[in-house]
């Protein structure tokens, strides 16, 4: 396989277990498989505590996985330490949710943007400065702001700075952890458009961590839905929103409010009962079974046997992209 055909990133059976305060094992991520093709935007969605951010942090080397494999362009990176990551770091960069805490308040914007180049020993000071100016322009900020400090910018502008910093080293893959969740609607739209434009221009690959499914639909090609540490469904975006297969995905989509009173008035909403179970004491079998509205149709198998993420039969479209679901109903 040539390097162009190989997926950019392949994670297999990735797990992350934390030790809880009471000594129990918290299974934050419990066997996740993900493949990121070159140039695609994959969304990883799910509710608080489903393990999406922990997965993202493992993929960029911020958390060592408990077990599993991560191949970055064919190179195993799962057990690299910070020094091992250094020569690869320029290929994978991260944008964080909170534009307030992820920028050093004591550095000027110019210095924040040039720092990755300094760390990697790239360029002369003047070249780094020019790169910082170019990056500001690229993300829609006035290059004359280069000597200002983060607190002088609004939330949306700070997120632009965070994106610019991630682009300094010309990465292949951007891991974006809820990059627009903290922003107001009108500003959020600006940043979404910026991310779409940057992806087109540089052929970037995105792993987009989000809980807002409407934002995902706007920006991503493919989607992986997580529940309690596992991926329960993967599908191309346009198919998933039309025809969700996993009962959890269906409930999730039906819970999202739509800003249209005519539609809201007619919607049949699936309201799930109860809370997400604790990842330190996950239910047996399918982790979703205690809340699943469709469990009756399968019965005890959901309680005793954990469903694997399996490829679904292609309905009349043999060329369609593969989609997978982890539910006994679909097998």
């Amino acid at each position: 396989m040539t390097s162009d055909e190989r997926p950019l990133l392949v994670a297999r059976n990735l797990t992350k277990h934390f030790r809880g305060r009471d000594g129990s094992v918290v299974r934050a991520v419990d066997g996740v498989d993900l493949t990121l093709e070159r140039g695609e935007a994959l969304a990883l969605v799910g509710e608080s505590g489903c393990g999406k951010s922990t997965t993202a942090r493992m993929l960029v080397g911020l958390h060592p996985p408990t077990s599993g494999s991560i191949l970055l362009d064919g190179v195993e990176v799962a057990h690299l330490d910070a020094r091992g990551w250094l020569p690869l770091r320029h290929r994978v960069q991260m944008v964080f949710q909170d534009p307030y805490s992820s920028l050093d308040p004591r550095q000027t914007v110019g210095s924040i943007l040039a720092e990755p180049l300094t760390i990697h020993g790239l360029g002369k000071p003047r070249e780094r400065r020019l790169r910082a100016l170019a990056l500001l322009e690229l993300v829609g900020l006035d290059p004359r702001c280069v000597n200002r400090y983060p607190h002088e910018f609004s939330g949306g502008q700070r997120q632009r700075i965070g994106i610019a910093r991630a682009l300094t080293l010309e990465p292949d893959l951007l891991v974006l952890d809820e990059p627009v969740s903290a922003l107001d609607v009108s500003i959020q739209a600006q940043v979404i458009n910026l991310l779409a434009r940057l992806r087109d221009r540089f052929g970037l690959t995105y792993l987009f961590i989000a809980h807002d499914l409407a934002v995902v639909r706007q920006l991503c090609d493919r989607i992986a839905v997580m529940y309690l540490g596992r991926v329960v469904e993967t599908a191309p975006c346009r198919e998933l929103f039309k025809d969700p297969r996993h009962p959890y995905t269906r409930a999730l989509l039906s819970a999202v409010p739509i800003p249209d009173p005519a539609i809201e008035g007619q919607r049949q909403r699936i309201v799930l009962q109860g809370d997400v179970p604790s990842p330190s004491h996950p239910p047996t079998g399918c982790a979703f079974h205690p809340r699943c509205p469709e469990r009756e149709q399968v019965g005890d198998r959901c309680v005793t046997e954990r469903p694997e993420l399996l490829e679904l039969a292609k309905n009349g479209d043999p060329l369609g992209d593969p989609r997978c679901s982890a539910c006994h109903l679909s097998t």
């Binding site: 509710e47 609607v185 639909r217 346009r238 409010p257 539609i263 309201v271 809370d275």
Partner: protein, 334 residues
């Protein structure tokens, strides 16, 4: 007479950097049993408005000035603090985005709920706990009796939100102010809580002021929606007309910039250029003018007042009729 009448409410904060006008003269009425959506982005003054109505703005640094805040005809601004306290929690109740801001982490849930009934209705501790258990059952807390002895940290975020709602509704208030009640929750839990609020409102006829930045949340639940920008009301309308034919350029821009789950996305999302104004140094005239495609010189000179171009609707933009009201999804992309 409306249940609640607010006239020319102004709230400013004296800060070391100057005077910040958080709410700059808003007026509205709330009818019995109505759900009023109050929407706007961060800093638009929506939360501060309801805090001011409840008498909960700290002074100093805040300064509240109001032409009138009348509840059932009674002027609240002239009320002695003790009289206002008697109303608050009984007739006027409030729930917050973060339940931990209103629940005491050191007291059991039962004690906190019972206290409300003891103070406002003169119940004994025993009667109070009994009513508290019933209230917890009503909001869907499993094993309500057993939960009375629990502390807030023993509940999940969604369950704490239920406890707070139970507490707010204990005395069957006439008005419930809900300040971003589901913003911190996941969507499946949000759906549970909103359904709960709708059911409780139907059973008890409570009027709700629903403060939110999420247009989807108001679309499904509000009877009427008021849009705020930079401390002022810019538009007010019954919910369906507001979403179908938004009049104010800001409302139109806002609706167009929300990504939609139920539609194939356009290649570019419409967005509103620029930033909301700095409230310490607001622009002259209409605060939205610097971001508005319809703005002309006159917009930057005088602040537009609310006018009523048609029945039941108010808009603070003299130029709202200048362009045809188009479907927001087809709004111009920047």
């Amino acid at each position: 007479m409306s249940l609640l009448e607010v006239r020319d409410l102004r709230v400013r904060f004296e800060t070391p950097l100057g005077t910040l006008r958080a709410v700059d003269g808003i007026s509205f009425d709330l009818e019995e049993g109505e759900t009023l959506g109050l929407v706007g982005e961060s800093g638009s003054g929506k939360s501060v408005s309801i805090l001011a109505i409840m008498g909960l703005v700290p002074t100093p640094p805040g300064v509240v000035e109001a032409g009138a805040i009348r509840f059932r005809g009674q002027e609240l601004t002239a009320l002695a603090p003790s009289r206002l306290r008697a109303l608050r929690g009984k007739d006027l109740a409030m729930i917050f985005q973060d339940p931990m801001t209103c629940l005491n982490p050191l007291l059991t849930i039962g004690l906190q709920l019972s206290e409300v009934l003891e103070v406002h209705l003169g119940l004994s501790r025993r009667e109070g706990l009994k009513c508290a258990a019933a209230a917890l059952g009503e909001v869907g807390i499993p094993e309500p009796e057993g939960s009375l002895a629990c502390y807030p940290h023993e509940f999940s975020g969604g369950m704490r939100q239920r406890v707070m709602i139970a507490m707010a509704l204990l005395c069957r208030p006439a008005v419930l102010f809900a300040d971003e009640p589901t913003t911190a929750l996941d969507v499946t839990i949000q759906a549970q809580i909103l359904e709960l609020l709708v059911n409780l409102q139907r059973d008890h006829g409570t009027a709700i002021v629903l403060v939110t930045h999420d247009l989807g949340v108001v679309a499904g639940r509000a009877d009427r929606v008021q849009v705020m920008y930079a401390g002022r009301l810019v538009e007010s309308a019954p919910t369906t007309p507001l979403f179908e034919t938004p009049l104010h350029p800001y409302t139109r821009g806002l609706l167009a910039s929300v990504p939609r789950l139920d539609r194939e996305p356009e290649s570019t999302l419409a967005s509103i250029d620029g930033q909301p104004p700095d409230l310490l140094a607001p622009p002259g005239g209409c605060a939205f003018a610097p971001r508005c495609s319809l703005a002309v010189e006159a917009c930057r000179e005088a602040t537009p007042e609310l006018e009523s171009p048609m029945d039941g609707r108010l808009v603070a933009c003299p130029r709202h009729a200048e362009t045809p009201v188009e479907n927001p999804a087809e709004g111009a992309a920047s």
